[in-house]
């Protein structure tokens, strides 16, 4: 996929290189203007516009660029999904600047998980762009560093590498779904509860479950909720639902308004804990004076955790209760009393198990009586805690 009006020469070079490597190529033109090389497309922008419910003439004469982009993207998605469903494509590669990358990655996210997707983008490293390009998709993003403008040796080298990468990627054996009925578990985690997650995973695997982990940093956990709704999982261990409090305060791990709800909607059992729920991560440029005065912990150069205030903890407990009370399936909440992650260690500035109780008590008050809330005299990373989580799983997961 490329906009052949501005990137025609580069796209044709890419096509030629992929062909030399032994793959067939279908070149889709997603440009909204006519360029000298637009005729070289295998799927013309006219076809794309029509599949999007418009015509190229209409697109060209329109002054509403956002609307035109949406139409072209819709058309490209229609065509690509059709080709994929018919087994006519085995991978997809896009090359572009801002507009091309936005459109092509929208198409990629609409294609099935596992189909190789490579985006060569000159704007991969711009602030915030990668988040929009990748989202919850299994997209591979290659920074071209140089402008995709004029086929110099440097850009040729980048395109050559991209061609080799995508041709090699399509050789990957496809996803084999060999799912044991009733045994697929989704689990959220973060670095600061890694030990607990490993122990729980091992325990579940010994019990015949297959565990898929998701990073609870605001994207992986969102992807998990989507995959739960697609019916891919039979049970959930939600060790790190911090995305709920982050949604309330606008933190970087915000996992959207429906986090912690999919398992309940699907009626599958869930065991929930609290890693990271007592910390928030508003973007540094949005820090207020009050944020600056808070206790904090630097995870690394990029990540600083601020201690959540008691008010925020109460608000979070209410959100947890509201979400979990709606659940159609069994729920167990398991909370460690000596710190909710490896960050919560005696000596670390944000360690405050007493204040954590504000959340526990509010949650206990609000949860429906049939939802079990269990506390454990241990830290999240202690073996006893993982043991307690596993026991909870044994109680409510399919036997």
């Amino acid at each position: 996929m490329a906009t052949l009006d501005t990137k025609g020469e580069e796209a044709l070079f890419l096509k030629e290189r992929i062909r030399d490597l032994g793959c067939e190529v279908l070149l889709m033109d997603i440009s909204m203007r006519e360029g000298p090389l637009c005729k070289e497309a295998d799927i013309t922008s006219e076809e794309v516009a029509r599949a999007g419910g418009s015509t190229l003439e209409e697109i060209r004469s329109s002054r509403d660029r956002a609307q035109s982009t949406a139409v072209m993207t819709r058309g490209a998605i229609e065509i690509a999904k059709g080709l994929s469903a018919e087994g006519k494509i085995h991978g997809v590669i896009g090359i572009g600047g801002s507009t091309g990358s936005l459109m092509a990655t929208d198409v990629m996210r609409a294609l099935p998980f596992g189909l190789p997707k490579l985006m060569v983008s000159s704007t991969a490293a711009l602030p915030g762009m990668s988040t929009r390009y990748i989202g919850t998709g299994d997209i591979c993003l290659m920074h071209s560093v140089v402008e995709i403008s004029g086929l110099g040796e440097v850009l040729r080298n980048v395109i050559e590498r991209a061609a080799r990468a995508i041709c090699a990627m399509v050789e990957t054996p496809p996803l084999r779904v060999q799912r044991a009925e009733g045994r697929a578990v989704a689990m959220t985690m973060l670095g600061p509860c890694e030990k607990c997650a490993s122990r729980v995973r091992r325990g579940l695997e010994e019990g015949g479950f297959q565990v898929t982990g998701f990073s609870a940093a605001g994207i992986g956990d969102r992807a998990m909720e989507e995959m739960i709704r697609q019916g891919l999982f039979d049970a959930v261990v939600d060790l790190a639902p911090g995305g709920v409090i982050e949604h309330l305060v606008g933190g970087m791990r915000d996992a959207g308004p429906t986090r912690l709800e999919a398992a309940g909607e699907m009626g599958i059992p869930q065991v929930v804990s609290t890693c990271g729920v007592n910390h928030i991560t508003p973007p540094k440029k949005a820090w207020t004076e009050e944020h600056r005065s808070r206790r904090r912990y630097d995870l690394d150069r990029h990540r600083t955790w601020l201690r959540a205030s008691p008010e925020e903890l109460i608000e979070a407990a209410r959100a947890f209760a509201e979400k979990l009370n709606k659940a159609q399936g069994p729920v167990v909440v398991v909370i460690p009393l000596k710190g909710w992650s490896s960050v919560d260690q005696p000596g670390n500035p944000t360690y405050d198990p007493e204040e954590d109780m504000v959340f526990v008590e509010e949650l206990r008050r609000r949860l429906k009586p049939d939802i079990e809330l269990q506390t454990v005299e241990a830290n999240m990373e202690d073996p006893e805690f993982a043991q307690a989580v596993l026991e909870a799983c044994r109680r409510v997961f399919p036997s």
């Binding site: 560093v145 090699a168 982990g213």
Partner: protein
């Protein structure tokens, strides 16, 4: 057997072997089956590696002069990460110098991505770099920076082995091994000239391209968007270009006011070693978006709307400040430098007849710049707009002369 003896290529695998040992083993076996020799570097801290490393974590930290065991005992996680990252950079660069690696592969979560991409950013453009990351979908600017790092989003966490994880790791292994195949090293063809460009000053770059090609050079363009300008400076440092046409200084304005193309580092305009012609393209305005909002102190200025971006005209006060910044930088550069000023406008927004047209404000920049530079750097003024082919022709002519003679001063 070394990779030279085997005649094959070697891939450096950077991973925390205490937590991601299982995944590293999968990658190791996968690349081996693709005919590439794996070199496993352990950058784990917490625990013992679950599979043997070719380069142990203690060895990694000690390359940078740290005692990892002592740091672990002190429970100072941040220092441990720093030690392992600094050491990993040193070890990787040594391996590359010795010709013992031909690509880098990383996998990890937050910490693993931080360490492995720091290694990748320290290695030259062109060397294949693939990072499988659980946080690829976050803002990757700090991870990728100015380098050609390929980010694979793992979607599922790298925790335990399952079909999802195997698929992504398998694709990534094939991608990096594919990229490492023979014959795609950067060729040493025509001498290359780096050109800074951006949307509102792209005609100038296009003219420059044809003049450069006529003189036997090849142009490599960098988008002056906060990241591209810095990538250009790194190309200069890496010795990949013979000269620079720095025709777009728009980043300096955005940097000052937190605009859309902010984010340049101190190195901007300062990489030496090759001749450079500088022109103030796009310095007539700063650009803002909803997420990079205009500061209040610019309220009331002339504004020009683009798409989600809008540009604000810079006045005499800013021009004086820009001249001092640019002048101080150029005085420091250890290479022949030449400033070329178009008197009739510096971007598509300030052509004659347009609202931003304001040669008087521009002249403040020129006068102040001459004052700061003194005799150190020549400043030439031309009575044209920056998009006039005559301007690009003169810029190329001056650069070509400097490249041939090794200087004009």
């Amino acid at each position: 057997m070394s990779s030279e003896e085997s005649g094959g290529k070697s891939l450096l695998i950077v991973a925390t072997l205490d937590t991601k040992g299982e995944h590293a083993a999968y990658v190791r076996d996968c690349v081996r089956s693709l005919g590439v020799k794996p070199v496993l570097m352990d950058v784990g801290i917490l625990g013992e590696p679950s599979i043997p490393a070719d380069i142990a974590k203690e060895e990694v930290a000690s390359a940078a002069g740290y005692d990892l065991k002592g740091l672990i005992k002190a429970r100072d996680r941040a220092s441990c990460v720093r030690a392992i990252a600094e050491g990993a950079v040193i070890v990787a660069n040594r391996l590359l110098e010795d010709g013992r690696i031909h690509g880098v592969f990383g996998m990890g979560g937050g910490t693993g991505t931080t360490v492995a991409t720091r290694v990748m950013r320290s290695l030259p453009f062109g060397l294949p770099k693939v990072m499988v990351s659980t946080v690829a979908s976050r803002d990757v600017r700090e991870f990728v920076g100015t380098k050609d790092v390929v980010m694979f989003h793992s979607v599922a966490d790298l925790l335990g082995m399952n079909e999802f994880v195997k698929l992504i790791l398998g694709q990534a292994c094939r991608a990096v091994c594919g990229m490492m195949q023979r014959g795609i090293e950067l060729p040493k063809g025509k001498p290359m000239v780096a050109v800074s460009a951006y949307g509102a000053n792209s005609d100038c770059a296009l003219h420059a391209q044809s003049f450069l090609e006529a003189k036997g050079y090849e142009m490599v363009a960098f988008h002056a968007n906060g990241c591209g300008g810095m990538a250009m400076e790194e190309f200069v440092e890496q010795g990949l270009v013979v000269g620079v046409l720095d025709l777009t200084l728009h980043e300096i304005a955005d940097e000052m006011f937190g605009g859309y193309s902010k984010g340049i580092g101190p190195m901007r305009l300062e990489a030496g070693g090759v001749p450079r012609v500088v022109a103030p393209g796009g310095l007539d305005n700063a650009a803002f978006t909803p997420s990079c909002p205009m500061p209040d102190l610019l309220k009331g200025r002339k504004v020009c709307y683009y798409d989600v971006r809008f540009c604000v005209r810079m006045g005499p006060q800013e021009m004086r400040a820009f001249a001092r910044i640019v002048g101080e930088k150029l005085r420091k550069v250890k290479a022949p430098t030449y400033v070329l000023i178009p008197r009739r406008g510096w971007s598509e927004f300030d052509r004659e007849g347009m609202e931003f047209f304001d040669p008087q404000a521009d002249q403040v920049f020129v006068d102040e710049l001459k004052k700061v530079l003194g005799d150190a750097v020549p400043v030439e003024e031309m009575d044209v707009h920056i998009s006039d082919p005559a301007f690009a022709r003169r810029a190329v002519e001056v650069l070509d002369e400097m490249i041939r003679s090794g200087g004009i001063r």
